[in-house]
């Protein structure tokens, strides 16, 4: 009885997994077909894998430029956000600051606003106000790196708050008695203990920055375009090359797939903190 129920659950999850994986499988099928095979007999299976679309995408200098921009923006943003969030969370957790719960809450609300609302003011600020002589923040990587802090910082602080609060205060007090300064406490006491949590935070902020599209599409034009905007350009051009679009989409979601294996256990832990705390 119990056993047959276990088997039924297993069958159920196999079915659910097929539904989850099918769209991504189909993306791969399209990306691995040659142009001639694309509109032939409809088939869910691949006869042979054709890597032409991937080779064409990866050797395209425009695409290489987009890819490099995405890597630079996501990596710099991730390092900046994780560092700033660690400092901020440490301050919120250990210092007797006036109104710190309000500050914590205000920080979180920055993530809640719909991004489309801020497109217009940011576009105007980037093209007209945030300028030094001829130089504008518009269409620069640094512009995107700084802007992505607005949604990544609240997220990182939200996740790190629980992790830093859970580290016993006695640890850093003992270090203080031994004469350690703030920098030493942060790097020698907090950092080693909080490392797993910091790693998960860093990976998720990296993925969020990599995945962002709306601001990248509005605030860049040539130099700082990212891979997500490159992917979207396929639909606006008439006569879409579906195979190339599929290959680009596969490359866009590849890092997410790699990172998922690393962080999946911690995602559930992170959500527990946010959802269950009454």
């Amino acid at each position: 009885m119990r056993r047959s129920r276990g088997i039924l659950t297993l069958v159920f999850w196999c079915g659910a997994s097929i539904i989850t994986l099918f769209p991504i499988y189909w993306l791969f099928v399209i990306s691995a077909k040659s142009r001639a095979d694309l509109f032939g007999r409809p088939s869910l299976l691949l006869d042979s894998v054709n890597w032409d679309n991937y080779i064409a995408t990866l050797t395209n200098p425009v695409f290489q430029h987009y890819m490099l921009n995405s890597i630079i923006v996501a990596t710099c943003n991730c390092l900046l956000v994780t560092t700033m969030a660690l400092l901020a969370t440490y301050a919120l957790s250990r210092f007797p600051l006036v109104g710190k719960e309000n500050i914590f809450f205000w920080t979180i609300t920055n993530r809640m606003a719909p991004p489309a609302v801020f497109l217009l003011p940011l576009f105007l600020l980037y093209t007209q106000a945030f300028t030094i002589g001829e130089w504008k923040l518009y269409d620069t990587r640094i512009g995107l790196i700084l802007l992505y802090c607005v949604f990544n910082l609240p997220f990182a602080i939200w996740i790190l708050r629980g992790i830093i609060d859970a580290i016993p205060k006695e640890l850093d007090e003992a270090a203080m008695v031994d004469g350690a300064n703030l920098w030493q406490i942060l790097t020698r006491v907090i950092l080693p203990v909080a490392r797993p949590g910091l790693a998960v935070t860093a990976i998720l902020t990296w993925v969020f920055a990599w995945n962002e599209y709306l601001f990248a599409a509005t605030l860049t034009s040539v130099h700082a375009r990212t891979i997500t905007t490159g992917l979207a350009e396929f639909v606006t051009v008439t006569g879409t090359n579906w195979g190339l679009m599929a290959a680009t989409a596969m490359l866009t979601l590849l890092p997410a797939l790699v990172f998922l294996g690393i962080v999946q256990r911690h995602i559930v832990a992170g959500l527990t903190f946010g959802a269950v705390k009454e």
Partner: protein
Amino acid sequence: MRSQRTGWLLLAPTLLILFIFGVVPFIYVLVTSFTHWNAFAADPTPRFAGVDNYRQIVFDTQFLYSVWITLRFAFFVVVSEMVLGYFLARMMMSNFPLKGFFRTIHALPLMVAPIAVGATWRLLTVPGLGPLPYLLEQWFGIDYRIGSFPTQAFLTTVVMDIWHWTPLVTLTMLAALSSLPKEPFEQAQIDGANRIQIFWHLTLPYLRPAILATVFIRMMDALRTVDEVWMLTGGGPAAATRYIGLYIWRVVFPKTDYGYGAAISLVTLYLTIVLCWLLYVSLVARKEKKRAD
């Protein structure tokens, strides 16, 4: 050593960045919304306009329509994802082989870039190429063309969002279910309560905070959906899937009517806040009142 000054210094970079890129744009958009300002008009400098822009919104049927369909989209999406996500989390609670593996697969859509989700679903639904139109035609005789039929386009965006975001609900519900205390449930079983009674009087009250938090997060995300829908339907056919975000981005923006665009943006922000507040009041305050009675 733990002085106020050091604490504020540690917080300073965060507060500074959030101020420059969060608060300053808000003030800027607020000021802009009270001006006539069109970059390509004969006079491209901002002029004070009073509440003209806001008055214009009331008569903008396109905007009102996009608000209506966004609300409809958010309602369908949040309700289906909550029910489905809870059911899946329940299934995940029992023991079966390869549980961790299935959980990882189930969480996969969460990590995929929204723009790639849109591209994927477009490849599924393009006539002549995707399997969905073909299978629906073969099995059910349905003429499936999201480029032509508004209802089909709307439902496809809903299904796409369910595919993308149900895993989030499953994971939060799973986390909440795993932390339920055991004793009350054992006691209820001894007392002979049936499954519906247990769900209604025990599970639901215990899960309440988690359910509330999840509904909030999903609600706000659903209200600002842009990328996936833009990639899948481009807001069409006609304006059937032109949700508020797309409206601001693709209609207000290219017109370079900055004053009016700013007013629309602010009204959208205001509506989002009011909606969340109403949700909060109806779900939380009612409970408080019940307790008082």
